[in-house]
Subunit: 430 residues, 2 copies
Amino acid sequence: MIETQLAKARRGEITPEMETIARTEGIDPQTLMEGVSCGRVVIPANKRHRGLKPIGVGEGLTVKVNANIGTSSDHADPDEELLKLEAAIEAGADTVMDLSTGGDIDEIRRLILERSPLPVGTVPIYQAAIEVAQRKGGIVMMTADDIFEVIEHQATDGVDFITVHCGVTLSSLERLKIQGRITDIVSRGGAFLATWMIYNERENPLYEDFDRLLEIAQQHDITLSLGDGLRPGCLADATDRPQIQELLLLGELTERAWAEEVQVMIEGPGHVPLDQIETNVLLEKKLCKGAPFYVLGPLVTDVAPGYDHIVCAIGGALAAYHGADFLCYVTPAEHLKLPTPEDVREGVVATRIAGHAADVARGLAKARTWDDDIARARKALDWNKQIKLSIDPTKATQYREESKPETDEVCTMCGKFCAIKMVREFFQRT
Amino acid sequence: MIETQLAKARRGEITPEMETIARTEGIDPQTLMEGVSCGRVVIPANKRHRGLKPIGVGEGLTVKVNANIGTSSDHADPDEELLKLEAAIEAGADTVMDLSTGGDIDEIRRLILERSPLPVGTVPIYQAAIEVAQRKGGIVMMTADDIFEVIEHQATDGVDFITVHCGVTLSSLERLKIQGRITDIVSRGGAFLATWMIYNERENPLYEDFDRLLEIAQQHDITLSLGDGLRPGCLADATDRPQIQELLLLGELTERAWAEEVQVMIEGPGHVPLDQIETNVLLEKKLCKGAPFYVLGPLVTDVAPGYDHIVCAIGGALAAYHGADFLCYVTPAEHLKLPTPEDVREGVVATRIAGHAADVARGLAKARTWDDDIARARKALDWNKQIKLSIDPTKATQYREESKPETDEVCTMCGKFCAIKMVREFFQRT
């Protein structure tokens, strides 16, 4: 019988994970412990995940960035997934989620867990549905046991957090039906469950048997990420009744999880116009009593496939500025194909930019130091330092080397008419 | 003696340019004319720019995007500049600025004007300072006549708008000196003028002889873009006294320009943390009586050279949402080198995404239709239509073709477990 980080925090125990995180974040361990104890901070750290470098997600901490990797039925190469993991780690992701739906799902997850010092998340309904489809000929043949067995199995493997779409209920689907949407359901997990529920005329087992889920989560201290199976898939569907109905239920489930000392965070949209982002964050924080908010984007326009990492950076920066704690990246490949390792890298960096911009704007201790340091290096025309301090020194080096200036102290944008050089030389002279 | 668009609007004349713009924007020509008459909208359209497709910038219109092109002393190839012009036009820029500081500046500008249906802007102080440096051995030898002659010369060539750093005055430089900044001056125009002023112990001719500038602008209906020579070059310097001192002066000059029926817009920062963007837009709108705001970025962090188009998309989207009218793009090459045509393309698309996201959020008629149309194509799994409606169909096609799904109706991200496909098939069956 293990105790969760939440249980320990409530007893006033500062765990080794809290010590590490407090050090990294530059905050007081006591403050962090209090955040965990009231559910405003989660530490997704499964005891069976060896070599884990723990991180915290929530109030008062830097914004975290998740990178989704994993195979699909159309493209399943375990080696490529490991390259994506490597790219995510190198680019500075804080967590990865293995969303594999193709190939040997167990094997790929085990490889990723073995090699990832970052917390690893999964969406167990994928494996449950896909294996049932293979075994019984259709996902609608799935039983509640099939779902919970996969969850327990993945928890035993060492998964640190799982997305569970507990709020896709008969009542939420009723709201969806009355609403009428352009894109209906765009969540894979949501689609698996909705299909199953409608066919079987049954309630979602993850909602109906939520206590069983809590028992597994408590026993492994696996953090629940309450998924938004009814998140909007386009701007037109944002902040509508099915989305908010689901969120209401997730708020109730949050309190039930806390009652069982289970750590929980809330997943959020999705596709949301710029002017609705603040409201979405505020709603989550109010309805879910301050539980950490994990947003998927949000994407502030639907028109830019091929550039959705940029679309997501805009929405993510604004969401995090208003209080979102955890940003799921989107890669340039979103809506078009499974990402490559290079797409993963681009997605992580774009999302880290968003998170850091929000950290600065929220006045987080230490965040602005980075900007000031690189600004001083820029003023000093110290290129080595500028590049070393860049969010991606490899890319910065590549750009600089592609176009060599006549004199090393400037760049080819302004050449000898570099404003910084002119002003510096002149001010030194006078 | 010509009349400016502003003069005609005040007389109640709807010009052919206003007709065209009203049609493109889907608004009433009368409304547009009223916007121009009170200075809240500018139409940068020099009569001598043949083949110009006029655009409007300001209140009630879609956010516009400018692409900076032009040579530097380290890299001056006219053919490459024409390729950049082509890339900017193809990617959907609304205007271009020729910022050339290397090679035959006159010749490059004439080539660009000849081939650009988009309004063309310049920064005449570059040519003035550089030619004086070549001719007389130092930019400090420049005279007021040297500056005004270049301005008149460029106006005669057909330039539609010019950046003039009229607010870099002895009083603003005094504020700069007292303030103490990390990056001092990062504007090239600002640096040329400050250097000249301090050396010569003279006021800025563009401020002192502002009437002479207005006369040229009125005679050619060239729109003045009042430049921010003291814009912050890093987050630490944002919204400080020299920046706001300059803005106060630009507000006064705006009213003097309007008195002479000269069209005017205001340039803004620069490097600005996310939480100061709204304030910066509000200040400009108040201090400059609603004159259109043309922001350079803003960049919400200093740490991401190689990704500054993304940094700028975040800041630009938020600035435009709060009321900025015109976004100057930044390319991934910013702070590292002169951009290539490919960098230009990336910069334009990123900035168009920001502008469009703001148009949607501001509730602009027509803007959201684009998103809804692509969302419907996505729901219908109509890939040809999705790609055709994409902001950059070439890139979307390239991504899709790099990774072929087993069946054409899905993509390799989810393969046969595509949520849209599952839900659609299932809902059709039941």
